[in-house]
């Protein structure tokens, strides 16, 4: 911890970064995101098991982008999302420095996109076991059971769009949900509209989601929405190959094709 604070202070001091996005503790000792601009504030930084937020989502904000030279305290999932964003030609206007702690508990500082790529590939996260368990359970169900499951879950959705706000991959300036000519997504929180919204979200993230699970963690109604994108990820990996957030030249599965793609479902 001390090491992280010292390094952050040093980077801010010598002007390598103008802004550090990291975690500090709030009044009730909970780790919350914080933005640090001076070396003096660096001693409030923490990084522990509670630091789950994917901070890369802030990199799309104009106020943050204005700092240009930005440090990011990140876990592997966050680093993976930055890598995916870079492969989608985002964030290249920024000079990013990443501070992370590796499996052995040592501080790692990555200062280039290539270093980031190497680190992510060496420490590539796998699907969380609890998610895999749920996916297997759902896939073993009959179609009707799955429909009943999602109907039950999605009827709880209040369309707060927290899952969209928290997602680093949802960076479109105008989202289909806001489009009202035509009204693609019903504005009221009724179940059929919720189905529309979540189908749309999963489709737009298919082949791009890096499986950080933030959408499911953040949902105030406790809907496991991250399972939709996690399932899509696995399908796409199986069918088309390639992992999301794996390299700087990732490519987007739905933006490319192979003449020999599966078509046993087409008459």
């Amino acid at each position: 911890m001390k090491e992280l604070q010292n390094k952050a202070a040093e980077l801010l001091e010598n002007g390598t970064i103008n802004l550090l996005i990291g975690f500090c503790e709030d009044g009730s000792k909970r780790a919350v995101p914080c933005f640090i601009e001076t070396a003096a504030e660096a001693n409030t930084l923490v990084f522990n098991q509670d630091c789950k937020n994917n901070l890369s989502v802030y990199l799309h904000k104009k106020e943050v982008k204005d700092a240009v030279k930005i440090g990011l305290v990140a876990n592997v999932a966050t680093l993976r999302s930055v890598l995916q964003l870079l492969s989608e030609n985002q964030l290249w206007s920024l000079t990013l420095t990443y501070l992370t702690v590796n499996g052995a508990g040592e501080l790692v500082v990555l200062s280039s996109a290539e270093e980031l790529e190497g680190y992510v590939q060496a420490n590539f996260p796998t699907c969380r076991p609890e998610d895999q368990e749920m996916l297997d359970k759902l896939n073993a169900m009959s179609r009707e059971e799955r429909w009943a499951f999602w109907k039950d879950q999605l009827s709880e959705c209040v369309k707060c769009y927290a899952c969209r706000a928290v997602c680093p991959m949802c960076y479109c300036t105008v989202c289909t949900t806001e489009c009202n000519q035509p009204q693609w997504i019903k504005t009221s929180a009724e179940t059929s509209g919720n189905f529309e919204y979540h189908t749309m979200r999963a489709m737009h993230l298919a082949g791009r989601c890096i499986n950080c699970g933030e959408c499911g963690r953040i949902c105030p109604a406790g809907i496991p929405v991250h399972l939709l994108t996690a399932q899509m990820n696995q399908e796409i990996e199986q069918e088309f190959g390639g992992k999301t957030g794996w390299s700087l030249k990732g490519g987007y599965a739905l933006n490319s094709f192979k003449p020999g793609d599966k078509e046993n479902f087409i008459k």
């Binding site: 896939n139 009707e144 009724e190 059929s192 939709l228 069918e239 078509e263």
Partner: protein, 157 residues
């Protein structure tokens, strides 16, 4: 009043192949089921998955999505992109428990008028066997649907 169920089929077709194929079926005076409503698109690559959802929501019982055979796309690769999207969309719907057997994907070229007629007939029959699509309607106002409308009408007389 017992009405026989006539399925509503919406067909999303591309302008260059399947629409021309359907045209050929017409000019050849091939008879096929009248349940289909054809919507013409510039290319299968233009067919947004949201349109399929909207069709189901607005009362379609079945959907046909059809375009040029691989390598025949007027825009070179529209159908290849569409094919990937359909695959992903189909597996997503399946994962959400949506009855994907109500969506038929097909390649019909401009010369395949007969194939088009057969496709429409087969789809109509299979959807007829599946019955009306009520899953979407049942998502909302489930309790409202259970209200005894006739009883209320009777009382108000």
């Amino acid at each position: 009043m017992a009405e026989t169920f006539e399925p509503k089929i919406v067909a999303f077709v591309c302008n260059w192949c399947t629409y021309a194929g359907a045209d050929l079926a017409g000019t050849s005076r091939t008879k096929y089921a009248t349940n289909v409503r054809i919507i013409r698109f510039p290319c299968t690559g233009r067919i947004d998955f949201m349109l399929l959802i909207k069709a189901f929501q607005n009362g379609a019982d079945g959907i046909i999505v059809s375009g040029c055979h691989p390598n025949d796309c007027h825009y070179t690769s529209g159908n290849f992109h569409a094919r990937r999207r359909w695959m992903v969309f189909k597996s997503l719907l399946d994962f959400m428990g949506f009855p994907t057997d109500r969506i038929t994907f097909s390649w019909v070229s401009a010369a395949e008028g007969k194939k088009w007629a057969d496709l429409v007939n087969e789809t109509t029959e299979s959807v007829r066997a599946l019955g009306p699509f009520t899953d979407y309607k049942n998502l909302d106002f489930t309790q409202f649907n259970q209200i005894d409308h006739e009883g209320i009408a009777e009382q108000s007389r």
